[in-house]
């Protein structure tokens, strides 16, 4: 089994690139691979807890919690997140908050790296 590290930068709502990152992570974890996800840029807004799911908008919370339960490690860039007004105690429990070197450390042991830069 392999080790996949995904960097995801696009925002939660709108582009569905974010949804792609989560679905890919889920498919890889389901096959038994070790998966970690790094959020930076607009994606960091998605770690806020208590997202209201309207049917016209993607939502992340339910899927993020399911991934955490499957053993996927998820970390958000702390600076990017607080710059968007989201504080740590407002975040989804289980998601890590760290600096960019978290991503590089995961890359160190990854077999495959996918950076989805977005935009």
């Amino acid at each position: 089994m392999g080790n996949l590290t995904i960097g995801c930068y696009p925002g939660l709502v709108g582009s569905m690139t974010y949804d792609f990152a989560l679905k890919l992570a889920d498919a890889a974890a389901t096959k038994g691979h070790k998966v970690s996800i790094w959020f930076s840029g607009n994606a960091t807004g998605s770690v806020k807890a208590n997202q209201k799911h309207l049917k016209d908008y993607s939502t992340g919370e339910k899927y993020l919690k399911a991934l955490l339960e499957k053993g996927v490690e998820i970390c958000t860039c702390e600076a990017c997140t607080v710059a968007r007004g989201v504080k740590k105690d407002e975040g989804i429990p289980g998601i890590q908050w760290n600096a960019m070197h978290w991503y590089l450390a995961k890359i160190y042991s990854a077999d495959r790296v996918l950076l989805i830069g977005g935009e």
């Binding site: 840029g41 960019m100 890359i107 790296v113 977005g118 935009e119």
Partner: protein, 136 residues
């Protein structure tokens, strides 16, 4: 002792969204990653600019006064100060008529490294030599 080589390739113009700037700051983070790794484990990114990625690298940027944010120039200097290899595609600078002398330097801040203006083949080589490649 093992090093993982990475190629960060910036292909979109600076000041277009956040992604191109995050390439620089994520590369700089190689300097502090040791706190999360075992002794002797290192990660070494090469930061490469191609295509429109070479736009917005010029010196003389005035981002703090005008928009209240750190300039790309300032990020580039930081990258040099932490000894990153920064490769800028020679053909693309020429294509957009940007003089090589317009590239920022951190020499007066004590940096040993300078921006390396290289033919595209060198960037292809960096990508081939890397274990992973990240396009921004």
């Amino acid at each position: 002792m093992s090093d993982i080589k990475l190629a960060f390739v910036v292909q979109r113009p600076q000041y277009k969204g956040e992604t191109s700037r995050l390439a620089i700051t994520h590369a700089i983070a190689y300097q502090t990653v040791e706190i999360l790794l075992e002794d002797g484990q290192t990660v070494t990114p090469k930061l490469c600019f191609i295509g429109e990625g070479v736009l917005g690298l010029q010196k003389g940027q005035n981002a703090m006064d005008l928009y209240g944010i750190t300039s790309t120039e300032s990020h580039m200097k930081n990258a040099l100060l932490v000894d990153l290899d920064v490769l800028v595609c020679k053909e693309d600078l020429a294509k957009y008529g940007i003089p090589e002398a317009a590239m920022p330097s951190a020499e007066e801040m004590g940096a040993d490294k300078s921006i390396q203006i290289v033919p595209f083949t060198e960037i292809q080589k960096a990508v081939e030599e890397a274990k992973h490649v990240l396009f921004f």
